[in-house]
């Protein structure tokens, strides 16, 4: 019971880190980016390749995955994404699906279609158990590690957005780009940095999650729906909304697969449709979305 809850929380935290970048681009910049999973996949593959081919230790791979994916995100934002912000949603959907398809095929071409494994270090492989019977709580050390990292990241992000100068600039640029630009804020740079950070976080999430979610070239399409659920259900006006949605989704998914394995992902989809029928703008929103 508690073990399932714990695994669900770890899974949810992971989903949150993966999806928070999407929450920012989608909620703040109003851009539907279905290729977000491709950045997560990039992070995962950077980790796998760095560890296998170059022998980089796992812990060093995590920042590496973040930095490289962020750089990739920045590059793509500047060259391809920026003209897309003003286009209708249909164009954005087509464009980002196209990018995701290309990423899938490119990875298949360069690395191969087989499932990749991440060798996590020895000290993260153990498992601690507390209590017994129905209250047995078995905690994999790797999952504790994930929860810790994600919790720290969440707090840092929240502080970054609400307390720093960059955060207030970003919020200003989002609320009204023209006025913000008039006040001397370089809106393009703010968006560029934000997009890069969102991609970097996705890359980090991909690196962390390669062990739990599995990593193969179809990753962006397989988990796209999960990221979108987190954002659509969580609403896009804050960090806490997607966090709560990610935790809910993680717990529902793990519990659903454990208790009613016949249903598979059915529970999650059904839950999402029902929630969106009930609150079309997401569970946690200040006002009707744009």
């Amino acid at each position: 019971m508690l073990t399932i809850l714990f695994d669900g929380i770890a899974y949810g935290m992971l989903l949150f880190v993966l999806a928070v970048g999407l929450a920012v681009t989608l909620g703040l910049m109003n851009f539907i980016n279905l290729a977000h999973g491709a950045f997560a996949m990039a992070g995962g593959y950077i980790t796998v390749l760095a560890m296998q081919r170059l022998g980089v230790p796992f812990l060093a791979c995590l920042p590496l995955a973040f930095v490289l994916t962020a750089a990739l995100g920045a590059l793509l934002e500047r060259t391809l994404y920026r003209p897309m912000y003003k286009k209708p949603h249909l164009d954005q959907v087509m464009f980002s699906i196209g990018l995701a398809f290309m990423a899938v095929a490119a990875v298949d071409y360069f690395v191969g279609g087989s499932q990749q494994n991440v060798q996590i270090p020895q000290w993260l492989r153990g498992r601690t158990e507390i209590g017994d019977g129905a209250l047995l709580l078995g905690m994999g050390h790797y999952r504790i590690f994930i929860i810790a990292i994600c919790a720290v990241l969440t707090v840092v992000l929240q502080l970054l957005l609400s307390r720093t100068r960059f955060g207030s600039r970003l919020r200003a640029a989002v609320d009204d780009p023209r006025v913000a630009a008039g006040l001397g804020i370089n809106v393009n740079v703010v968006f560029l940095l934000t997009f890069a950070m969102g991609s970097g976080l996705a890359g980090l999430g991909g690196a962390l999650g390669a062990e739990i979610l599995g990593l193969d070239p179809t990753f962006p399409l397989k988990y796209m729906i999960y990221f979108l659920i987190v954002v659509a259900v969580g609403g896009t006006s804050s960090i806490t909304g997607p966090l709560a949605a990610a935790l809910l989704l993680g717990i529902a998914d793990v519990a659903g697969k454990y208790y009613i394995p016949k249903m598979g992902a059915f529970t999650v989809y059904l839950l999402m449709i029902l929630i969106l029928l009930w609150r079309p703008q997401g569970l946690f929103t200040r006002k009707g979305g744009r």
Binding site: L26, I32, L80, P83, M84, K87, P88, H89, L90, D91, V93, M94, F95, I97, G98, L99, A100, F101, M102, A103, V104, A105, A106, D108, Y109, L221, I225, L228, I229, V231, A232, K262, M263, G264, A265, F266, Y269, L270, M272, I273, L276, L277, P280, Q281, G289, R290
Partner: protein, 326 residues
Amino acid sequence: MDAQRYQAALRAGARPRLWEFVLWALAFAAPLVLPQHALMVNEIAIVALFAVSLDLILGYTGIVSLGHAGFFGFGAYVAALFAKHVMPDPTVGLLVAMAATAVLGAVASLTILRGSDLTRLMVTLGTALLLLELANKLDWLTGGADGLQGVVLGPVLGLFDFDLYGRTAAWYSLSVFLLLFVLMRRIVHSPFGATLMAIRDNRLRASAIGIPVVSRLAVVYTVAAAIAGAAGALLSQTTGFASLDVLAFDRSADVLLMLVIGGIGWLYGGIAGAIVFKVLQDSLSSITPQYWMFWIGLILVLLVLVGRDRLLRPQTWFRREKGAKA
């Protein structure tokens, strides 16, 4: 006086042109002239029907859907199951599949009435995934991941047997396509169709001049679902097979791509897009079968960067882009 003039203008748009007759005559002649490509003609007719049905909701009503394959696949499974367990007659199977998909579409239309583009995207995608998951798990009924095999169909209308070369199949699909196309053509040129476009252009104003927005959306979504179901039924009837692939996300993305290649909000756009897409797919995947997905992605990205409105419609190349879309 004015009213008459506007009416005349609307009527003129609805009148079939000469080239349309020529086009359809060519399509029907194709299996006879090019018997080796009859299977291809059949496939194109099916995906074109599917694309045009999406155009009804995307191009004319402005609902962005990522889950249209859900209806296509549902129709395919219903037709296959009906032929296998109840009755092998294709026409009856087609009607049953359409009716069943219409019911599904009517239920699903409840989910697209509210919310933003993102919400609609999510619920349409979610509905299709739900159906995919269902077809996967109910393996005693649908054969699960192995697909539904052993579907044998009787002759069309009790007269024409399905042959090995797919000529009967091609004519059958083309006839159904033509019938449904004429129906859709009537719909979009009717006052009902005009209200759909009004809803697409400005939902608030449309409701302000007394258009019942919610019921119009529900009706058109149901009709589009039924027609997509018919396309799916044609596929499983002419191939004698239904697999999970008919419900997959790729199919929804493919059909969106076809429609966008051909141009949305124009019934022949779906047909043009389907032909271009199928020919491209055939030629590109014979070069690199494994990486077809890369090319499709590249086409999508380029299409959007260049501007999707003007690709197959040369008459718009030199015209200025229309004002801001709502």
